[in-house]
C-alpha cells in the first residue's frame, strides 16, 4: 500500500461519500471502504483498471475525468480525490473547479517538481529529470503541466480556492506545510497533498 494512500485515508472522516478520480485498480477505494466505512466510487480511464475494480466489487465508471466529471451532480460527494493526475490534464484549472463542484472538499496530490533531486538533475546534468515519482522521459510523459508545491499554493490563492491543509511527503515522513515553511518543504517533499474546499 502506498504511503500516500494511508495519509489520504487518515485525512478523511468516517462514513462519508467519496469519489476517487483516476482510481486505478481501486486500492485506495478498497482501503477507504474497509478502514473508514466510506461509500467510495471511482472514475477511471483505463479499461484494464476498470475491470480490476469490477472484479473486486468496487463501483467504477469508465471515463475521462477531463470531459466526464460533468455527469456527477453538484456537491454529490463529501470528498473528491485526485491522486497525482492533475498535471496530466489539458486544463488543470477546469478539472480542479469541477472537483470542487462535485465534492464539498477535494484532496489533490501532486508530484513535486520543486523537490531537490528534480532541481539538481536539471541543473547538474542538463536533462529532463527522471525520478521514482516522475519516471517518464520527456517524449513519453503524460504529464503536461508539471508544477511545484509552491506553484500549486500560488495557483490556489490566485483562483480563490481555499486551502485547508497541505501535507508534504518524503518517503515515510509526512509534514505539514504552512506559509512560513513553504520554501524549505518545497525543496524536500516528493509529493504534496492539498486539502481544498
Amino acid at each position: 500500500m502506498k504511503k500516500e494512500f494511508k495519509v489520504i485515508a487518515e485525512l478523511l472522516p468516517n462514513n462519508i461519500r467519496v469519489l476517487d478520480v483516476g482510481c486505478g485498480d481501486g486500492s485506495l477505494m478498497d482501503l477507504l471502504i474497509k478502514e473508514k466505512n466510506i461509500e467510495a466510487r471511482g472514475l477511471e480511464i483505463k479499461e484494464e483498471h476498470v475491470k480490476k475494480c469490477i472484479y473486486k466489487g468496487l463501483s467504477v465508471i469508465e471515463g475521462n475525468a477531463e470531459t466526464e466529471l460533468n455527469q456527477f451532480p453538484d456537491q454529490s460527494f463529501d470528498y473528491v480525490i485526485l491522486s497525482q493526475t492533475l498535471q496530466a490534464f489539458y486544463s488543470p484549472e477546469k478539472v480542479l473547479k469541477d472537483l470542487l463542484r462535485v465534492g464539498k472538499c477535494a484532496i489533490v496530490s501532486i508530484p513535486n517538481f520543486g523537490y531537490w533531486k528534480v532541481r539538481t538533475s536539471l541543473l547538474l546534468f542538463g536533462k529532463m529529470p527522471v525520478t521514482k515519482t516522475l519516471p517518464y522521459s520527456w517524449h513519453n510523459t503524460p504529464n503536461l503541466h508539471m508544477c511545484t508545491i509552491k506553484d500549486m499554493y500560488n495557483f490556489c490563492a490566485e483562483k480563490d480556492i481555499k486551502i485547508d491543509k497541505i501535507l508534504g511527503l518524503h518517503g515515510d515522513r509526512t509534514s505539514q506545510i504552512k506559509k512560513n515553511n513553504l520554501e524549505i518543504k518545497n525543496l524536500f517533499s516528493k509529493i504534496g497533498i492539498f486539502v481544498l474546499s
Binding site: 469490477i54 463501483s59 455527469q71
Partner: protein, 375 residues
C-alpha cells in the same frame, strides 16, 4: 408445446393500454438450483427474438440456447452456482400469452386483437414468476438489448427486488434510428400478402417472406461495419465468378437469406410486430414524467452498465446516458465499455473480455449479497 413450463398468472394485470388481463400463461425455464439462503437467483431477460431457453438444447427448436456462451455449467454465469430464471415475454411466441395464443372469448387466435403491450407490462408479468419460485430478492437482473431495457424497467418498477443489475447494450428510450429500423421490420411483415392484417394465424400459414426480410434488417443492425467487412468482405458464395443473376452471389447475401429463412421456422410474424412496438414505446423518462432521476430514485440496486465500442444500435453514448441518469439519482453504478468489432451482437457471441467482466461482477456481487444477508 409439451416441454414448456408454464405459470398461469391468475392475478389481474392492468396493462399500459388500460386493458386488464388475468389468467394468462407465462412460459419460463430455470437452470441450476435456488440455494438455502436464496441468495443465488439471477433473472435473465431475453432480447427481441429470444425465448426462455437460455442455455443447453432448446427443446422446441432443437438448437443451442441463445445465451449458451455466457450461461451454463462452468460458464461466466455459472449454473452450478447460480439459479438462473428466464421467462418468455408476453407478446412472444414460445408459450407465453401472445398474439398466436387462443383468445378464450372467441376461441380463435388473437392476431391483431391482442393488446399492444409495453416493456413495463412485460416486466410486471414476470415479477409474479419470482413470487411463484420463492425468490424474494434476486442476486442480479440482467439482459442485453431489449433484455437490458427490461432490466432497467424492472429496477425502476420494483426497486427492492434485486441486489444488483446489469443492463447490457441498451438505452432508457428507443432512438429515432431504432424506431425506424423496427418500422422497417414491421413494414416488411405487413407488405407480405400472406400476412393479411394478421389473420394468417387462423389459416395456419406464415408470411415467411416478409418475416425473413424483417429478420435480415435485424441481422444487419447487429453487426458492425468493420465486423461485417472482415467476416464477408466481397467473398462469393461457393462460386468462382458472378452469376449474372439475382441469386445469392455474395456470402453476405447468403448469410442474410439463411438467417432470415431459418428464423421463420421458429417465430411468429405478429409477435415481431408486438415486441418491436413495445421496444419503440419504451421511454423511462416519459414514464416518470420527464425525469430519469425520478425513475431511479431510492434505488439501492448496484448497477453495472456495459456497452460495446462497435455497437451502433445502442451506442456507448446512449449507455453512458443511462449511467449519467443513475449517477444523478445517486445510485451505485459502474460502467465498462468493451472494445470489440463484433457490434451489438457482442453480448451473444464468445467475447472473452465481456464474459470475464460479467463473471467478475456477478461473483463479487454474490459475495457482498451473502454477507449482507448474514447480517
Amino acid at each position: 408445446m409439451e416441454n414448456v413450463k408454464k405459470l398461469n398468472i391468475s392475478k389481474s394485470l392492468l396493462l399500459d393500454c388500460k386493458q386488464t388481463v388475468k389468467d394468462f400463461p407465462l412460459a419460463y425455464e430455470t437452470y441450476g438450483k435456488l440455494n438455502e439462503n436464496k441468495d443465488n437467483a439471477i433473472l435473465v431477460f431475453h432480447a427481441l427474438t429470444g425465448d426462455q431457453f437460455v442455455t443447453g438444447l432448446n427443446p422446441i427448436t432443437k438448437k443451442e440456447g441463445w445465451w449458451g456462451t455466457a450461461v451454463g455449467p462452468g460458464k461466466a454465469i455459472d449454473t452450478d452456482k447460480y439459479f438462473v430464471i428466464c421467462a418468455n415475454v408476453i407478446g412472444g411466441c414460445m408459450g407465453s400469452w401472445g398474439p398466436k395464443e387462443v383468445d378464450k372469448k372467441t376461441n380463435e387466435p388473437y392476431g391483431l386483437s391482442f393488446p399492444v403491450i409495453t416493456i413495463r407490462d412485460i416486466v410486471r408479468a414476470q415479477e409474479t414468476l419470482l413470487d411463484y419460485l420463492g425468490v424474494e430478492k434476486l442476486l442480479c437482473a440482467t439482459g442485453g438489448s431489449m433484455g437490458g431495457m427490461q432490466t432497467l424497467q424492472f429496477c425502476a418498477t420494483f426497486p427492492n427486488r434485486t441486489y444488483s443489475a446489469m443492463p447490457i447494450a441498451c438505452s432508457t428510450s428507443h432512438s429515432a434510428q431504432n424506431i425506424a429500423l423496427n418500422e422497417l421490420a414491421r413494414q416488411a411483415v405487413m407488405a407480405d400478402p400472406v400476412w393479411d392484417k394478421g389473420k394468417y394465424i387462423k389459416k395456419n400459414v406464415q408470411p415467411k417472406n416478409g418475416l425473413a426480410v424483417a429478420r435480415m434488417v435485424g441481422h444487419i443492425s447487429y453487426l458492425s461495419e468493420k465486423g461485417m467487412q472482415e467476416k464477408f468482405g466481397r467473398k462469393l458464395q461457393e462460386r468462382g465468378d458472378y452469376d449474372f443473376s439475382f441469386n445469392a452471389d455474395f456470402q453476405v447475401e447468403s448469410y442474410l437469406r439463411h438467417q432470415g429463412f431459418a428464423f421463420v421456422e421458429r417465430f411468429d410474424a405478429n409477435s415481431i410486430l408486438y415486441i418491436t412496438r413495445a421496444m419503440d414505446y419504451f421511454d423511462l423518462s416519459r414514464q416518470y414524467k420527464g425525469g430519469l432521476t425520478e425513475a431511479f430514485k431510492n434505488q439501492k440496486t448496484k448497477f453495472l452498465v456495459i456497452s460495446f465500442s462497435s455497437d451502433w444500435l445502442y451506442t456507448t453514448k446512449e449507455n453512458k446516458d443511462t449511467v449519467i441518469a443513475l449517477n444523478a439519482a445517486g445510485t451505485d453504478v459502474s460502467f465498462a465499455e468493451i472494445k470489440t468489432d463484433k457490434g451489438h451482437d457482442s453480448f451473444l457471441v464468445d467475447e472473452p473480455e465481456f464474459l470475464k467482466t460479467i463473471k467478475g461482477f456477478i461473483d463479487s456481487m454474490h459475495i457482498k449479497f451473502k454477507n449482507e444477508k448474514r447480517i
